[in-house]
């Protein structure tokens, strides 16, 4: 088996140049690569294009990279939890592409799967459709959408082995598997890093072929946006 282990988050991101296109896994703050984001903040890499479903919150996740102005452009579906994001967007400091969530997921999946374009009904008749090819199939209208790829995809998994096989937990899976496949270089941080053979091959969500670098993260905060219990 090929050993893909790097020593730390800083080691994993050290060659990411300014101006890179990054994918960052996660839905809200669930399943985000916390350790790698911290390393990107320490490195100070800038002019980044970040593809991520959300933009974190003001003081956590990608929100931290917005505070430090490291992000030039966001490609996301929903950014409602982030006041700094909205401020930078409305003032024109930040470029933003807002994309329907399913279209975003499928564009990333297509990028990793070698499918340059596909047709989806989402956004037909809306401003999302502006400039896009429209075609009718079986009496319904569809938009052509193209694949998305990244220079570096940064994902977070629950468990991984040194050869890059990944298992996600709960809804922390979200965009992580598609992004892992769509990065020229994919960095995976995991809560528990094990030797090959310790993970049941039947349970692998992302096969190691997609992962170039892996490390075990630490001090996961796993912040919760909407802590909701049975009583409330």
């Amino acid at each position: 088996m090929i050993n893909k282990v790097v020593s730390s988050a800083d080691e994993a991101v050290k060659d990411i140049p300014d101006g890179s296109v990054l994918m960052l896994g996660g839905f809200g703050l669930c399943g985000i690569p916390e350790n790698s984001i911290s390393a990107l903040l320490r490195k100070g890499v800038k002019e980044l294009t970040c593809i991520s479903n959300n933009a974190g919150v003001d003081d956590f996740g990608i929100g931290l990279m917005l505070q430090t102005r490291q992000v030039k452009k966001m490609i996301s579906s929903y950014v409602g939890e982030n006041a700094e994001f909205e401020r930078q967007l409305l003032s024109g400091e930040l470029e933003v592409d807002l994309i329907p969530q399913g279209t975003l997921a499928e564009r990333i999946r297509a990028g990793g799967a070698g499918i340059p374009a596909f047709f989806t009904p989402a956004g037909y008749g809306t401003e999302v459709a502006e400039g896009k090819e429209v075609r009718e199939f079986d009496g319904k209208m569809y938009l052509m959408e193209s694949w998305l790829k990244a220079d570096f995809a940064i994902v977070k998994a629950w468990k991984g082995d040194t050869s890059g096989n990944l298992i996600f937990k709960g809804t922390a899976r979200n965009f992580n598997p598609m992004m892992a496949a769509a990065g020229k270089v994919t960095i995976a941080e995991v809560e528990e890093l094990v030797e090959p053979g310790e993970l049941d091959p039947n349970t692998i969500h992302t096969p190691g072929i997609y992962v170039q670098r892996i490390f075990q993260g630490d001090n996961y905060e796993k912040r919760i946006e909407q802590r909701t219990t049975r009583i409330s």
Binding site: F27, G28, L29, C30, G31, N53, S76, S77, Y78, V79, G80, E81, E86, L89, L90, V96, L98, P100, Q101, G102, T103, A105, E106, I108, R109, T120, P121, A122, G123, Y124, G125, T126, E127, V128, W158, K169, G170, T171, A172, R173, N174, F175, N176, P177, M178, H205, K222, R223, I224, E225, Q226, R227, T228, T229, R230, I231, S232
Partner: protein, 220 residues
């Protein structure tokens, strides 16, 4: 009296059919799950990647790795399944989800919906709404009939940026239940308790179709 949010959720819950898969949007639609009758078995879908949303957890069972699309902590239940966001939207676009219930800022008489953007004021993004409204066979909208300033939100044509065209089948507001007819127009089906047809007419800018006596909603 016009319905409160709970009342709207209770009325929509009556529309839920046994044996269906349902996606509930954020806000009033999420409340609907609290009022589905015990003898109706449904499976709730969360578009981040969960089928079979369980109840909110007890404090000691909170798991940061298990949230719904509104980012609330949830639980799984017997029969739940977990998957990626790509697969989640494959099941949505593929027509496997029977019913979508979501909120709206405006709905037009031909079934267009606007709910994702107010130019120069609010830009949060569409999330999964455009995928959902473009794909579901049955779409019910939960909304207030009028804005805070009293302007109708049931319009001839939407004024805000559109989320989807000709997709809404039914609207439940604080004042009324209305079907949107395939040929266009809001067909008034029921009135909120104590609300008159005339009040609904005055609050509806789009074409309102009134046939015969309009009963009051039965809400327990």
């Amino acid at each position: 009296m016009a319905l409160d949010k709970i009342g709207i959720a209770k009325r929509i819950a009556q529309e839920v059919q046994d044996g269906t898969y349902i996606n509930l949007g954020i806000g009033i639609p999420t409340l609907v799950s609290n009022f589905i009758a015990d003898d109706i078995n449904v499976v709730l879908q969360s578009e981040n990647g969960l089928l079979g949303i369980g109840p909110f957890p007890d404090e000691e069972d909170i798991d940061a790795d298990l949230i719904n699309a509104g980012k609330q902590t949830v639980t799984t239940m017997n029969g739940s399944s977990l998957f990626s966001s790509a697969q989640s939207f494959e099941m949505i676009r593929g027509g496997h989800v029977d019913l979508t219930i979501l909120g709206a800022m405006e709905v037009s008489e031909n079934g267009d919906i606007a709910n994702w953007k107010i130019p120069d004021k609010m830009v949060k993004g569409m999330g999964g709404a455009m995928d959902l409204v473009a794909s579901a066979d049955n779409i019910i909208v939960a909304m207030q009939h009028c804005s805070r300033s009293g302007a109708s939100k049931l319009l001839k044509e939407c004024t805000l940026p559109i989320t989807g065209l000709k997709c809404v089948k039914k609207v439940v507001t604080d004042m009324a239940v209305l079907d949107i007819l395939p040929e266009g127009g809001f067909k008034l089906l029921e009135r909120a308790p104590g609300i008159s047809v005339e009040e609904i007419q005055n609050a509806t800018e789009g074409k309102l179709i009134i046939e015969g006596d309009i009963p009051e909603m039965a809400i327990n």
